[in-house]
Amino acid sequence: MLKMTHLSKVYRTEVVETYALRDFNIDVKEGEFVAVTGPSGSGKTTFLTIAGLLETFTGGEYHLDGIEVSQLNDNARSKIRNEKIGFIFQAFNLIPDLNVFDNVEVPLRYRGMKAPERKERIMGALDRVGLASRAKHYPAELSGGQQQRVAIARALAGSPRLLLADEPTGNLDTQMARGVLELLEEIHREGATIVMVTHDPELAARAQRNVHIIDGQVVDLAEDPRFHTAYTAAAGQIRS
């Protein structure tokens, strides 16, 4: 589903080159739920923005759903984002001027979908996240957890092949975070491919597979006993 090979991302200024990702390799299979972890500044978010075609990369290859994306123009990248990828952001990123229904509708309008189909999908997605009754509410009238559920509904409404979540519970309290996570797990069980960036070991432990990034590279957790211990402990706590 998502395969990056020897991928690099370099930010250049007049005096310095900074590698955000270096010789980065990852292969996410269809239907996997992968947690991408790592310390601040390790390159997690850069990986996610490149994976979501939000920005370009400097070198290497990236195949998304079988398509090599490096040569695609902006319109083609927009189309792939719209049709194949669902985004869940830490800050929810709902449009404050639009109500819940209209927010979920945004990507469907860009797809040029007819109104009846849009409505059916929107109400289906809102029903799925338990917010069908809040369709006419504005984001400011909802709790953080509800706003993130709307964001998930927006991501789901377009039936994407890949869900990319950037710290989806980062702005939520424990109870709300648990609810959102359960929803993601449910979506995964139904067959969705999810790549979730987080620095929360508890969250990462709920994923099927963990990928750890340090200094812009994927590292094998088994080779670093400190990380292995911490994650195993967290995972054990959660499962119990």
């Binding site: 939000l54 920005e55 985004f87 990123n93 639009l98 109500n99 209209d102 990507p107």
Partner: protein, 410 residues
Amino acid sequence: MQIHPIIVALRRHKAGTLLIALQIALTLAIVCNALFIIHQRLSHLSEPSGIDEANLFVVTNLWGEQYSTDEAAAKIQQDLAALRQLPGVDNVTPADSYPLRGGGWDNFITLKPEQVSMTTDASVYTGDEHFLRTLGVKLIAGRDFHADEVQNMGLRQNFVPPVTIISKALADKLYPNGDALGKPFYSMSDKPTTIIGIVERLHRADVSTWSAPYANESLIWPIRMAQPWGVFYIVHTKPGQLDEAMREAPKALYAENRMRMISSKDGVRSFAQIRHLAFESDRGMAVLMSIICVVLLAITGAGIVGLTSFWVGQRRRQIGVRRALGATHRDILHYFLTENFLISLAGVAIGVLLTFGLNLWLVERFEMQFLPLAYVLGGMVILLLLGQGAVFAPALRASRVPPVEATRPA
């Protein structure tokens, strides 16, 4: 089309939206009426006078001493003879006024002596048997004056001649069936005057706004004004001789009699100069209105640019989110263009009402004419295009916001 979500979003930004819509409305109202005034004034500038302006000039002759009516009449005859001897002069006539002079004698005209309210208002010219030929006015019915019909009129004398020549516009106003020739009318007197000739066109002496409806309603009486203070000589020159004749005319008159004053500054004027002076205020008004229109349109355009730039800055993250969700550059560009179009449309809708309201007020207070619909439609198109033009640069900036903006901290 994304009209519904745009309208929904605009409802959440009422103040800015309303402000721009009202600015557009006000601009439309003022620009439409101003353009109408400009057009009226400019069309005024090129109004035909009915006379051979290219070959005519006027000498303003003031006597250097007080003459009786008979003395003045005799002096005028001597001057006419002197002017006719100039090689470039084709014809000459004395007059107390002339078309486009900027002011003159006008009378209320009635069809019956006891009639209280006027049928119309006409500019009154006095002239001799040379008047029509000198001015190059085209006689389209009847005849010119005979020399024996022309009477001298001096200071404090007032009479209505028995015969008159009128312009076609006046004839049509008095006798709409086209049978004015030979018919009488009354001009501020209980004695009738009979129409013996009709000329194709003869513009009034004054060019003021109030007289615009009567612009070509004129009459000529066979009178040689012999006033003690002076006289106008209207001189028709041979083709290509105008400048030379204008230079020679004062010399010839001074050679005839030095007891006169002909201003070296404006004592001799061609009709090109007379026309220029006559419509100076119209030209000034047109320029002023044009400046007002340009300034208003510029302010409105700047307002749209300012507000849209502010909104683009404010919604940068939102634009990034839209891009992340699949919006192309073009989608974002269209979003802002459509948003502006909707605001402009609302402004234009309010503006149409304001435009007609302002016009109605101008009609009632300043006797302006009713605004033709074409001006309103033209104004609407101008404002809508201005809006789209003004919003284009900020909208283009918005379309260049990268999708990664969605992931950046607020």
